[in-house]
């Protein structure tokens, strides 16, 4: 099943701006810059203000603990507090499966106060998602039907008028005694036959030309087993592409990350909190629950979100199963493509071939990945000729550049159009 995204992208553009605007509004309203930054730098790996994570929820923490001084001590070095036999400290320690909290001896009391102030802020009220129907631009006026009806009416008028003209001139001829030309049925009319022949030949030609595009899947956007949004990860959260697609620098394959790579972050991040800023909506316009998608990941990764540990079999092997993603970018078997060469020595951005992936929720195929597309790029792209010492063997080009005869060296100049660069 093929799906297309172009119209989706258009629809979204409008309220993405709106969301970004609202986002900054919120920020200004609840500003506690010092505390928030400190929290995110030091605490966020294990704590959430409003929910239990690796450590307990911190909202109202100062009112729970015995004293503020106790809290300072705990944060600075919880182990020594536990070691001193403090009852409350030991209770907490045992309650949280004896997970030791990292010591922060460098935090000053003022900084800790700022953090406490920040975590004590009331949780932000859930924002009502903008109504997708509310965008006036979404209702595009479609006049196709009107034009079609008009065309048909005009065609009928033309035919009627032509036959009226014919009948009239025939009766006029009969009256004047001039013989009318013999009536040729349309299927024997040479002009008609010629026209039809031309249409058939042209049509066949178009069909053949289109035939070469068979198997190409530009705009292919299949439904994936997990609604994974590149926009949320690479766009909003600015995660580097190479963090997950580590192979892009090393191998021919960019590599889809294994689920344990996802779990590096998702051990902590067990809910989608960005639903206000960026509600997830699938192609059919249905709302997607990000939390449910994260649960799907846990299922694949063999993670028990309640125990916060991997499920293991008797031998200790993690009960993970691979995620069967639908492959979007397919090259024929006889094509050798190497990501690392393009990324490392070609210094190409991922977006050059994959489009604005950080804007896509569900990924679609941006380029048609045809040979013509590859070849055109190899014709027009300059190699890193001066910077990469590998190219020092091309003495002739270096001389030409020195003499000013040549501005740069294209991929095609160093054999980039030859068959066995990609086919072997």
């Amino acid at each position: 099943m093929l799906s297309y995204l172009s119209r989706m992208a258009k629809d979204f553009k409008g309220y993405i701006l709106l969301i970004v605007f609202l986002f900054f509004q919120t920020l200004n309203a609840v500003a506690a810059p010092d505390g928030k930054a400190l929290f995110q730098a030091n605490c966020a790996a294990c704590h959430n203000p409003y929910k239990d994570a690796t450590g307990p929820a911190l909202n109202g923490v100062d009112s729970r603990v015995p004293s503020k001084e106790w809290l300072y001590k705990w944060i600075k070095n919880s182990a020594s507090l536990i070691g001193s036999g403090d009852k409350y400290a030991n209770d907490i320690y045992n309650k949280w499966n004896k997970t030791a909290m990292t010591a922060f001896p460098s935090l000053t009391n003022e900084e800790m106060d700022a953090i406490i102030t920040y975590v004590n802020l009331p949780p932000p009220a859930p924002k009502v998602a903008p109504n997708p129907q509310g965008d006036p631009n979404a209702q595009s006026s479609d006049n196709t039907l009107l034009y079609a009806i008009l065309t048909i009416i005009l065609l009928v008028v033309v035919i009627v008028l032509t036959s009226v003209n014919k009948v009239l001139s025939r009766s006029a001829n009969a009256r004047e005694g001039v013989p009318s030309p013999k009536d040729v049925p349309f299927f024997r009319n040479k002009v008609v036959i010629a026209l039809i022949a031309i249409i058939i030949i042209v049509g066949f030609g178009i069909w053949l030309t289109k035939g070469s595009e068979l198997g190409r899947q530009k705009n292919y956007m299949p439904k994936q087993p997990i609604f994974y949004s590149h926009k949320v990860h690479a766009g909003i959260n600015q995660i580097n592409c190479l963090y997950c697609h580590a192979g892009a620098e090393k191998s021919r394959h960019a590599m889809i990350p294994s689920s344990n790579v996802c779990m590096n972050c998702h051990k902590q991040i067990n809910e989608y909190t960005g639903v206000d800023q960026h509600p997830l909506v699938d192609l059919e316009g249905n709302k997607v629950d990000g939390n449910k998608e994260i649960q799907k990941l846990y299922e694949y990764a063999g993670w028990d979100p309640v125990k916060k540990d991997y499920k293991r079999d008797t031998t200790g092997t993690i009960l993970a199963k691979p995620i069967e993603w639908v492959k979007i970018h397919n090259l024929p078997d006889h094509v050798y493509f190497n990501h690392s060469l393009h990324v490392v020595s070609g210094k190409l951005a991922c977006q050059r071939c994959h489009g604005n992936i950080e804007e896509m929720d569900e990924v679609y195929q941006f380029a048609d990945l045809s040979m013509g597309w590859c070849v055109n790029c190899h014709r027009n792209t300059s190699v890193q000729f001066a910077d990469n010492n590998y190219y020092s063997i091309f003495q002739k080009y270096h001389d030409e550049i020195k003499e000013g005869k040549r501005a740069d060296v294209k991929v095609s100049d160093i054999g980039g159009l030859e068959c066995q660069k990609c086919h072997y």
């Binding site: 889809i256 689920s259 006889h334 050798y336 690392s340 020595s345 002739k396 054999g415 066995q420």
Partner: protein, 1065 residues
Amino acid sequence: MSKKQYWKGLEELNPSDEFKAVQANEFREDLPFGDIDHIADATTSRRDFLKYLGFTTAAATIAASCETQVRKAIPYAIKPENVTPGVPLMFASTYVDGGEAVPVLVRTREGRPIKIEGNTDSKLTEGATTARIQGSVLNLYDATRLKYPLIDGKEASWESVDKMVTDALTALGGAPLYIVTSTINSESTASAVAQFVQKYPNTKHVMYDAISYSGMLDANMASFGQRAIPAYRFDNAKVVVSIGADFLGTWISPEIYTKQYSKSRKISAKNPNMAKHYQIEGMMSLTGSSADERVTCLPSQYGAVALAIYNALSGSAANVSPAINELIKKIATDLNANKGNALVVCGSNDANIQTIVNAINNAIGAYGTTISFGSTNNTKKGNDTDMNTFAAALKAGQVGAVMFYDCNPVYDNINGSLIKEGIGKLKLSLSFNDRLDETTQLCKVAAPSHHWLESWGDASSHSGYTSWMQPTIAPLFKTRAWEESLLKWAGNNTTHYDFVKNYWIAKLGSEPAFDAAIQSGIAEPETMPMTSAAFSGNVATASAAIASIKASAADKVDLVIYDKIGIGRGGVWSNNPWLQEMPDPITKCTWDNYVLMSPNRAKKMGAEHTDLNEVQREKKVFSIKANGVELKLPVLVLPGMHDDVIGVAVGYGRDKGVGRAAAGTGVNVYPFVGRDAMGNPSYYASNVELSNTGKVYELAITQTHHSYQNDRPIIHEFTLEEFKKDPNELYNERKSSLEHFTHSFDAPHGEEHGGAHAAEGGEAAHAPTKTEADWQQAYRENGTLYPNHESLGMKWGMSIDLSSCTGCGSCTIACQAENNVSVVGKNQILLVHDMHWIRIDRYFAGDPTKPDSIQTLFQPMICQHCDNAPCENVCPVNATNHSSEGINQMAYNRCIGTRYCANNCPYKVRRFNWRDWNEADCFEDNVYEDGRRDDINDNITRMVLNPDVTVRSRGVMEKCSFCVQRLQGAKATAKKQGRTMKDGEAKVACQQACPADAIVFGNVNDKESAIYKLRYEEQKERVFHVLEDIHTLPNVNYLSKIRNASVLQSVNPEKEKHEAHATHA
């Protein structure tokens, strides 16, 4: 020299019309058009045409309108840390086959071993491999391997096997238990066996070799007090004499010997010295075909020959036969002149003959110089006396239980029939073998052990040298290391890994030391200790025993039973389709065994018509009676065979349990193996009766496939004397033959191509004598109308040294493994549809009716990557064209299969996919099946395919690509690191596999590269291109063959002399 006549086969000497027709055409078959003349007259042709047109259009439309497949991209669930999909990993390990142990590097992709390379860090092998080492990766994926343990032929769990075996072992009650294995030289395995023996003290461990070296070991025991084979150092020998020992092919450690041998024979104009190799043998062996001087004798004369050499050393004249006497005189002189630099080896398993050979080596001071007892060769340690004792005990009912590991005595031992009868009577019979072979199927329990690629372990092919194995893949099937089984039954529940680890930690001192050992794979002394041994053999007794050997009766012949290079070690590898299809280096026959015979003998026996002609595939079937057994085999006529000697190979006629590729091919000739006076197997038989059955059998011989006209210079050969006298003979010959292009165009050349000449000044450009770079460049530019291909960056070039090449075939199999070359099966080979990218052409020189005159020469022939390629010009779709790096590229997906290119290739190196060999296309049920080769398409076996190389589909042309995937890979690495490529960074598969270092490959544009230096400096006198005068400008060059012989043989010396004279005049 080029006037000398070489012939690939007998049919080239006396070409029949049929042969000429075959040679003239690239393709043997006519196109399936039927009677094309009558097509126009046929009443239905137009309608048929329209029908076909309509059908194909409809079919194409339906095929094209199929829905695009939804493909999945499935990542690892949990990615192993060191694996990056798409990036190969290399692991050091050890190839083990019986006692053979060679340090190797295993290339894996996503956890699958796909290619074996030699470990160049080893000072013993220096990275040498053989065809069997290259092919061993396919054995791992053999679909016939046992997938689980069996009890009474039914699947069983390891728990039930353990219970059954321990119960049976405790119930033995003191009855002796035998463990029968091939040679084992692993220390940790020996320790595991020792633990088992400790638990069950009545255990006896018997080792035997499928091809026995017991006689040699016994002789060494008597001569030196050590039952061991010493280390041979062919590289230290200036004179090598071999009496029937095929040390380059199958004898003891051929990969090491080939490496050493080729070192002592590297030659250049600056250093024109090479070792001299004499060979005296009954049949034509691979080693014999590399020899400088070779004469034939009966195998029953090996003793007499050895004795004659021994006596000749002290001046006595030999009295064997005129030709041999003359040669022995020469040998004795050379040996005496090179005392301490000479080596004599003998392939006989007769202890008396080996004693004499030891005496000779002692007399010429070989011990401590070319032979060392300081490090013994542990590859063969079998003891046939023990084996005979075991068989006798089995017969007498004195055996309680038996276990077999890595051996198949029912098939390959002289006591096979006794063992076959005895196994069934035992309380416990167990086999650790990997398949239901002849022995395992008689056993009660099959407890399959791992393949070496799945296993931990160690081996010590030479004492003092250790190499380690590490698994490169998790066990494919429910197999268990046999050491682990033994330990378990001895009450030790440790895993094999822990056992090996603990053993070596105890020995090496620490776990890091063990890890380092596994990583490097080897531990070797800096230099091999060269230790002599005091000879105390009884020459008189041995001479007396030799004197009593009688020759065959006048109408009977002698028989040599030999081991095939591909199948090896008594047929253990006969289910390997790569090796079955590898053309035998000498006979070029695939998939079968046969009886080798000289042309004279064939003529005498009435087999001359079909058997002198290798184009004719039907061969006469002969009946052979030896050792009280009669077997029928097809005849293959081989020049160079002694007229009264026939040869047959073991390893065929396998049971169907061995596998589809092995079963039903050839005849098992092990029953011909006799027993000598000491009870050791004897691989020679006398008084063999031969008779012509009149029946015929088809043999698939590739020798005349892809033949090209050889009335032009393809090979250049010189004697050492000639080369010393005038090293530039070939160089000058080339230069003068291309004079037309280099001289007559001087003026325009100098003006047009000012670049090179401007530097030399205007006058130099007009001078008749030019530098070598110049005349070659002038020929390049002036010899064609086509534009010259410019290579700005890389220009790949290859050089093949005909003097070093022994024809062993490891390059052929390495290429097959690297490039996914298809196996086609015997029936398709018969149709000349073989696919090997490397064809090793075997040429003979000499008179086929005189076996002693035959000189053999091997020329590996691959795509020459012509800069002015005839194939490129004729392709209608430009599917084959030239790259800027000098590679003749083949774009499979562009090829439409017109085969014009193959037709136009002067070297006949293009291969067409006549069938869908490997399920490579999208049409279902299209794959070729013949019942024998089909396991190659098993889902498990397909894991061996190299994922970087396209699997070619039906209807496309293919050929050597210079391993472009490796070149691209090496370039990519350099490019990503932002540096220039180093010489030797990109190695092609054949180059890497070659044990003789005959192949040099690299970037010719790099003036520091080995290939540049070889072509233009070090070896410029020997360089030539095949068919250079047709201006194909190949990027492959050859180095002339230098033979350390007094004369170069020819069919008709008078005629050739005359022609040479005429040319000269």
